[in-house]
């Protein structure tokens, strides 16, 4: 097929393509509308919102909501709690995923495929299934209403996806690299930490972003496992940030925007590692 023919085809109207494009546009709009609504309400006064002007452009750029949220000492506690859960839980699940992924990719043993499937199948259980058993378990361990319950749960829930991603990434690391290190007398641990991990930074960056965002944005576990105000995480905090008789749309909008900043920062930080081709030059090519 010549280029001219191919170009001619591309310029044709294709109904299936147009329909797909239309569907995606509608989905994107539905998906973005709430975010847009939150941004709008964050810059409005309560009076404006009460008048039913929810979707209108703010009359003035009102920053009072942000001032009030930042001035609220509870918000600082929420943010700190979330950080104290998200960072260790993300780090622990990624560490365990790296170790398990290396074993499943490079140190296969009899039954390792089956075990791998067992670990990964953990992803397919909805959290609601384990909610009550976990609640009772943490209750008997006296860990309810502590951040430990959240850290442990998020670490465990993160292991399947971390193992799956790291195993699949390590599978692309040439075996010859490990074998060369082994022949040279380098230990398995050194091979993993000094060779495999540095060339796996893109995968780890993706995982870190995913895990951090997922844990940061989680609502279910902190809602169930914590009760006191000083143990709440930010997502639960947003909900409880309301007047006694009214919903504080403006305040919640502002806090939602502030709460999404850390995940944005994490993404921007790891974005530079989101590059492929780190293994280029290792083997022929």
């Amino acid at each position: 097929m010549t280029d001219a023919v191919r170009l001619g085809k591309a310029a044709e109207f294709r109904p299936a393509r147009a329909a797909l494009f239309g569907c995606l546009t509608i989905l994107a709009t539905l998906f973005l509308a709430p975010t847009f609504g939150v941004v709008l309400s964050a810059f409005k006064t309560n009076r404006e919102i009460s008048l039913g002007e929810f979707w209108s452009i703010p009359a003035t750029l009102y920053l009072g909501n942000f001032g009030e949220v930042i001035g609220n000492p509870a918000v600082g506690v929420y943010l700190l709690n979330t950080l104290l859960v998200a960072v260790p839980a993300a780090a622990a699940s990624i560490t365990l995923g790296v170790l398990a992924g290396w074993v499943f990719a490079k140190l296969r043993f009899r039954g390792s495929e089956l075990l791998f499937l067992g670990v990964v199948s953990g992803m397919f259980f909805p959290p609601q299934i384990v909610l009550i058993p976990l609640f009772r378990l943490f209750g008997s361990l006296r860990l309810l209403d502590t951040l430990w319950a959240l850290i442990i749960t998020h670490t465990a829930m993160g292991i399947p996806i971390c193992t799956l991603l790291m195993r699949n990434f390590f599978a692309t690391v040439p075996n010859a690299l490990r074998e060369c290190a082994l022949v040279d007398g380098v230990s398995e641990w050194q091979t993993l930490t000094r060779i495999a991990l540095p060339i796996s930074l893109p995968a780890i960056a993706v995982l870190a972003t995913l895990q951090f965002t997922w844990i940061w944005n989680d609502f279910l576990w902190p809602l169930i496992f914590t009760q006191s105000d000083d143990k709440r995480t930010i997502m639960v905090g947003i909900v409880f940030l309301r007047g006694q008789y009214s919903v504080a749309w403006g305040l919640q909008g502002a806090l939602s925007l502030i709460a999404s900043l850390p995940t944005l920062i994490v993404f921007l930080f790891f974005q530079r590692y989101f590059i492929s081709g780190m293994t280029m030059g290792a083997v022929k090519g």
Partner: protein, 368 residues
């Protein structure tokens, strides 16, 4: 003294035995090449020596020490991989120093060794580059350097040149030969390229289907192959094979597919040998008038290489085309009827099973 000894080494992957009992002794400073077609077990055998593959049966000793059950890192061997296997995030210098540093060697000694290896391999100016900034040949040198710095008892090369283009391969071949001469280390080299095997080896080990077919110096194997497989594997272009029959009058002659006879003086066949395969190398035969040839056929293809031409002749009654080396300015054309004349001294005889009928044997005494 032998540095590497293999005793009845066997390796099976599940029910499939890929190395079927190999015995081998390699002397100190020797350059041994494992050669054979794909899947013959040569790479597996090398990996067995390195320790990357465990064996199913047998013993391996390196420098007098039984290493059969030792992990690769304790065997004092260094390996150069086909894919180079350079650590992509490290510079050439770091690649070479890595294993030494991990082993706790003092920094000064590491630097001294890296500098020495870089000098030997002439890569001093490339040390700060990462693998992706190096060409194929340069990467291979760094990979060899990484082996040199460890001062191993044995160097193992797993098809190290097969990813390079033809010109670079020829150059690196010379450099590896030079390296062996300079450091005098024991080297085991795996290749499927018989030119590399012939040019580099002190001794060649020809493998086929997991078995050693023959071990010997390149010329020994070239001139007195133990069987048809070795005869056909070594030499470029390959040896020609023609099925021949014994002359009916019981003389020393064999009859060719065209019905002509080649007299092999003093050849004596015992009664059990019936079907024979005659082998001759392309450069030991010549193109003659049809009337004077031992074999007669038509020219199928001519390859002009400049200094010489390869003439492919289709013989009636023979499956494969025969190759004969002719002078560079050969006037022959496709379709010409030609004769192929053999010299008795250039002929090899094989039994139907492939086994060579030795020239000095009762079956064939001194054909000269």
């Amino acid at each position: 003294m032998s540095v590497v000894e293999l005793r009845d080494v066997r390796k099976a992957f599940g029910p499939v035995e890929v190395v079927k009992g190999v015995d081998l002794e390699i002397a100190s400073g020797e350059f041994v090449v494992f050669v054979g077609p794909s899947g013959c077990g040569k790479s597996t055998l090398l990996r067995i020596v390195s320790g990357l593959e465990e064996i199913t049966a047998g013993r391996i000793t390196i420098d007098g020490r039984d290493v059969t059950d030792l992990p690769p890192g304790d065997r004092q061997v260094a390996m150069v991989f086909q894919s180079y296997a350079l650590y992509p995030h490290m510079t050439a210098h770091e690649n070479m120093a890595f294993a030494l540093r991990m082993g706790g060697m003092p920094r000064g000694e590491v630097e001294r060794r890296v500098a020495e290896a870089a000098r030997i391999l002439q890569i001093e100016t490339l040390l700060e580059r990462k693998p992706k900034q190096l060409s194929g040949g340069q990467r291979q040198r760094v990979a060899i350097g990484r082996a040199i710095v460890r001062k191993p008892k044995v160097f193992l090369f797993d098809e190290p040149l097969s990813n390079l283009d033809a010109a670079l391969r020829a150059q690196m071949r010379v450099e590896i030969a030079r390296l062996h001469a300079e450091i005098g280390a024991t080297m085991i080299y795996v290749t499927h390229d018989q030119v590399e095997a012939m040019t580099l080896a002190d001794r060649i080990v020809v493998l086929n289907h997991g078995r050693v077919e023959q071990i010997g110096s390149p010329l020994e194997l070239y001139e007195t192959p133990a069987n048809r497989f070795v005869a056909g594997f070594l030499g470029q272009p390959k040896m020609n094979f023609v099925e021949v029959g014994r002359a009916l009058d019981g003389s020393h002659a064999v009859s060719t597919p065209g019905g002509r006879e080649i007299d092999l003086p003093q050849a004596q066949f015992d009664g059990s040998v019936d079907t024979l395969v005659l082998g001759f190398r392309p450069d030991s035969a010549s193109i003659v008038e049809p009337a004077h040839g031992h074999l007669v056929g038509r020219v199928a293809v001519i390859e002009h290489l400049g200094s010489e031409s390869l003439v492919y002749v289709a013989i009636d009654g023979a499956k494969d085309l025969l190759v004969v080396v002719a002078p560079g300015k050969s006037p022959l054309a496709r379709g010409d009827e030609v004769g192929v004349r053999l010299s008795a001294s250039g002929c090899h005889l094989f039994e139907a099973s492939g086994k060579t009928i030795p020239k000095g044997s009762p079956e064939w005494r001194s054909v000269t």
